[in-house]
Structure formats: structure tokens, C-alpha cells
């Protein structure tokens, strides 16, 4: 355990951030012509692409159709060159399948699926460069792509991670901190209602710490939500002015 190095005596993290500081977020919407909605998101060195197709007719086996709501299909895939070691299978392995299922469940909770019975919404995410917090970056990118596609949402979904080193909660954990053996709590919330849609914890810490780590993660989610909201607004105003001009 290199817990001591992860947080210096001055209270700074390995990449020079403060414990409650997020990594830089950059995001652009509507980058693909083919997809109905798309987004590219950078959270520090983690770079993710997301594309949304639909709502459209059910593809493949018709048995997947739900009579009262839309079926949300997600695919999580990591590029073979995204990590230190070359990844043999970009998708279809156990980890990616698990991630896909989590994404499906998260977005099934956020999308107003009841508006599109018997149809399908595809969400594809591709991790181009992985540096920790892949799942959270994917959720955030997919949410932006859904907004770009104009799919009705109950609320935006934002996701963030938090960790605990030397009893200090850290927000938005990167790869070094994650592989340094510190615990990681992943939380996805609906920021307006404050509801938690997804939560997972790796490694253990004492239950007394849970509330403060969870608070840190939720605070992180809300901060990310505010940043993404600004980007969203900027994109929509640009769209609006270009529409009025034409």
C-alpha cells in the first residue's frame, strides 16, 4: 500500500490536485454525422466517445421488444490501445459486459422510456484512452450524447468517483490512485432530485467513513453536472443562433 505517497504531507495528490479537485473536463457535442446524437468527453487523461442511435425499430430478435417502454441497449468498448498493456478484446469480455449492463440499467432509469413502447435506443461508448474513472466518463459522455440526440430524460445523469486515503476523501480518482490500492466508490446520480441510480464500492473501509466519502462523490457529481450543464447550454445557444441565421 502506497497510501502515504498518494497524498503528500502538504495535502496534495500525486498529480498535484487538491483532495476535492476534479480533473479538467472538456466535452463537445454533435461530432458525428451518422449518429442521432454524439459526444466526446475528456476527464483528465480519460478520453471517451459516445454515440446514440434511436429511438428506432427493434433490431435483431423481436423478443427483446417491451410492450410498454423502450428497450435501452448499451455497448461499452475499450480501444485496444487505450491502456498500458494492449487489450486483446475490445468488447465481449466479462468486464465490458458488466459495464454494458450497468450502463443499460443506469440509463433505463433516466430515459423516459415509456414514451417509446416497442422501440430501441442504442448507446455506444468507446474508451479511447483510459486513466481511471472510465465508467464515470462513459456515463457522462453517454448522457451528453442523449441530450444531443434529443432523447427525453427525466433528469440528467452524472457520475463521479471518490476514494479515501489517510482518512481524507478524494474526488475523481485517476488510474494511479486507483491501482495504488485505495478504495473506489463509483456513484451515478440524478442531480436535480438527488437520487442515486448507481453505486459500487471496491476495497473496504470502515463504515464510519462511508458518509463522508459518499458526500464527496455526490458533491463531485454535482460539480461535474454544473460543468456539463454549461457546455450543454453553450452548445444549444450556438445551435439556436445558427438555426436563426439560416
Amino acid at each position: 500500500m502506497s497510501g502515504n505517497e498518494l497524498l503528500s504531507d502538504q495535502g496534495l495528490r500525486i498529480d498535484g490536485r487538491k483532495p476535492n479537485e476534479l480533473r479538467r473536463i472538456r466535452c463537445s457535442l454533435g461530432i458525428f454525422s451518422q449518429a442521432d446524437g454524439s459526444a466526446y468527453l475528456e476527464q483528465g487523461n480519460t478520453k471517451v466517445l459516445a454515440a446514440v442511435y434511436g429511438p428506432h425499430e427493434i433490431r435483431g430478435s423481436k423478443s427483446k421488444a417491451l410492450h410498454d417502454k423502450a428497450f435501452v441497449n448499451c455497448q461499452y468498448s475499450t480501444a485496444t490501445f487505450s491502456m498500458g498493456e494492449r487489450k486483446r478484446r475490445p468488447r465481449g469480455d466479462r468486464k465490458s459486459t458488466e459495464m454494458s449492463t450497468h450502463l443499460e440499467e443506469t440509463f433505463a432509469a433516466a430515459i423516459r422510456t415509456e414514451l417509446y413502447p416497442r422501440s430501441q435506443i442504442d448507446i455506444f461508448v468507446e474508451v479511447l484512452q483510459a486513466d481511471g474513472g472510465n465508467y464515470t466518463a462513459c456515463v457522462n459522455a453517454a448522457m451528453m450524447a442523449l441530450v444531443d440526440a434529443g432523447v427525453p430524460l427525466k433528469d440528467t445523469v452524472v457520475s463521479c468517483t471518490a476514494s479515501l486515503v489517510k482518512d481524507v476523501p478524494l474526488v475523481d480518482v485517476n488510474h494511479v490512485e486507483r491501482s495504488g490500492g485505495s478504495p473506489e466508490l463509483v456513484v451515478s446520480i440524478l442531480p436535480h432530485s438527488g437520487e442515486i441510480v448507481y453505486m459500487s464500492l471496491t476495497q473496504r473501509f470502515h463504515i464510519d467513513h462511508l458518509s463522508k466519502v459518499l458526500d464527496t462523490a455526490i458533491k463531485g457529481c454535482k460539480d461535474i453536472g454544473a460543468i456539463l450543464n454549461e457546455i450543454m447550454k453553450g452548445h444549444l445557444t450556438k445551435l439556436d443562433t445558427s438555426l436563426q441565421a439560416s
Binding site: Q34, Q75, F124
Partner: protein, 276 residues
């Protein structure tokens, strides 16, 4: 009105444009789309490049490994290309195992590699019959809008030029490899092939750099690969026929594109070196 015509009779709609020597996106028949190239944007890869030809976007990431060369060719390294078309790149691509388009593109690139059109594989050898570099070149198409091969070849060449590997030498006495991770080297023996794709229509009309729609409507496709002024590879998978005069015209057009691409690669690689 125009959109109705387009959905009901796509080919007729298209031919009205061709008769007036223009295309729906405003290009002339033999005009290429705007190309952009960015090298070295993915930090986790040993070499990388992103290419945009019109809407078609391809990312190439190279990961290097060490392995023993094949017994039949003990002085050659390996380049293993792999073209992936994930379902996010187009609504026409189904998820699941790689489809025909992806496999055909992979095979096309592998052919260029095996014919030493991209680089001399012997430069990847560290010690004959003991150690050689394996370059896994993964080409990921993130937006598919026609002329996939053009973008793939361009991305691959730019990523190879961007490639930086640790200097590794073989110690005979100890029988092991010695490397210094701080010192990096590139390969300067990479050739610069450029592929240009053309669509053919049955009335003898040729168009260059087709979009996805144009590829679907066309009666045939041809890809010509050139390096400088010499033709290194030609690929025409069936469809309608070509005569000699047309082939000459296509080669002329490819030559123009070759110059433009060479300039782009030069620019992108020199700027990414300056950043380092």
C-alpha cells in the same frame, strides 16, 4: 420535394446531379473531400493518428510488443493491422463479430504490409531469429461515410511515422535484451503510400472519394494506391468494367491526392515532434 425524390428514387436523384457534372454535397466529380490529420493524440499508444476525410474518421493506435520472428523469415518483424468498425460508427453496422467490410479492409491493409508497400519489415528485427518488434496497428473507424480504405491507409502511415519505441539491443553473452526506456527512437524507413478510392457508374462516369451513399449507389469501386508517382497497388473488387483510358485518368487523379496527403502527413508529424 427534393428529399421525397431522394428517398423514393435515390439513383435517379443522384443521376440528375451527375448529368450536370456535380454532386449533392456541392463537389465536382473528381474533387476530394477536405482531409485533416492529427498525430500523437493518444498518450497510451506508442504511436497514434486521427484522420478525417470529410465525415469519415479513423483513429489508428499502435501498440508494440517483442516476439521471436517466424522460422521461415527470421529477419522480419511483424505489422498486424486490424480494422474495427464498432457499431457506433454507422447505423448500418450491426454489433457482433467483425462484418464483411471490416474484414475486407483488414485484408487490404495486410496485403499492403506483406508486399512491403508500407515499410520494410526487416527494419523491425532486433536480432535475427531471436527478437523482433510486433506492431499491433488497430484502426478504429468512429464515423463511417465512405472511402474507408483511404482514411485507414493515411492513419496507419501517420501513426507509424509518429511511432516512438524504446531503444532495445541484444546482448549476445547474457542472451537477453537490454533496453533504456528513456531513450526512444522512431523509424525513418516508412514509405508513404496513399490510397484513393473512386466510384464508377454504369454510364462511364467516375467520381472520386465517394461518401457512404455514393458507394451504395455506384456500380463499382476501385482503390488505387500510389507512392509518389508510382502505382504500388490496385484493387477493384468486381462491379462494372473500366477501360484503359479511365484507368489513366484515375491514376492522374490519385497523383494529385498523393501530393496533398504527403503534405498533410509532413505537417502533422513535424508539429507533433515539436510538441514533444
Amino acid at each position: 420535394m427534393a428529399t421525397d425524390h431522394k428517398t423514393l428514387q435515390p439513383l435517379e436523384f443522384y443521376k440528375t446531379f451527375l448529368d450536370r457534372k456535380s454532386r449533392p454535397d456541392g463537389r465536382k466529380l473528381l474533387e476530394f473531400r477536405k482531409m485533416t490529420l492529427n498525430a500523437g493524440s493518444i498518450g497510451t499508444a506508442d504511436g497514434s493518428a486521427i484522420v478525417k476525410c470529410g465525415n469519415t474518421t479513423v483513429i489508428c493506435g499502435i501498440k508494440a510488443e517483442l516476439a521471436a520472428p517466424e522460422r521461415e523469415e527470421p529477419s522480419k518483424g511483424f505489422i498486424i493491422p486490424n480494422v474495427t468498425l464498432p457499431s457506433l460508427c454507422s447505423s448500418q453496422i450491426k454489433s457482433g463479430p467483425p462484418g464483411e467490410t471490416a474484414q475486407a479492409a483488414t485484408q487490404f491493409i495486410a496485403e499492403l504490409v506483406n508486399n512491403n508497400i508500407i515499410m520494410d519489415l526487416e527494419t523491425l528485427c532486433i536480432k535475427v531469429s531471436k527478437w523482433a518488434w510486433v506492431l499491433h496497428c488497430d484502426l478504429l473507424c468512429i464515423n463511417l461515410d465512405g472511402s474507408l480504405l483511404d482514411a485507414c491507409v493515411m492513419a496507419l502511415v501517420a501513426a507509424l511515422k509518429n511511432l516512438k519505441l524504446p531503444i532495445v539491443s541484444y546482448d549476445e553473452e547474457m542472451d537477453k535484451l537490454i533496453s533504456n526506456p528513456d531513450e526512444k527512437m522512431g523509424f525513418d524507413t516508412i514509405k508513404q503510400p496513399v490510397t484513393s478510392t473512386f466510384s464508377l457508374f454504369d454510364n462511364g462516369i467516375l467520381i472520386s472519394d465517394p461518401t457512404f451513399e455514393e458507394e451504395q449507389l455506384a456500380a463499382g469501386l476501385t482503390s488505387i494506391t500510389m507512392e509518389g508517382t508510382s502505382v504500388t497497388h490496385m484493387y477493384k473488387p468486381g462491379g462494372c468494367t473500366l477501360d484503359e483510358k479511365q484507368v489513366k485518368k484515375l491514376i492522374q487523379q490519385s497523383e494529385l491526392k498523393t501530393k496533398e496527403v504527403a503534405r498533410l502527413i509532413e505537417e502533422a508529424c513535424s508539429s507533433s515532434i515539436a510538441e514533444r
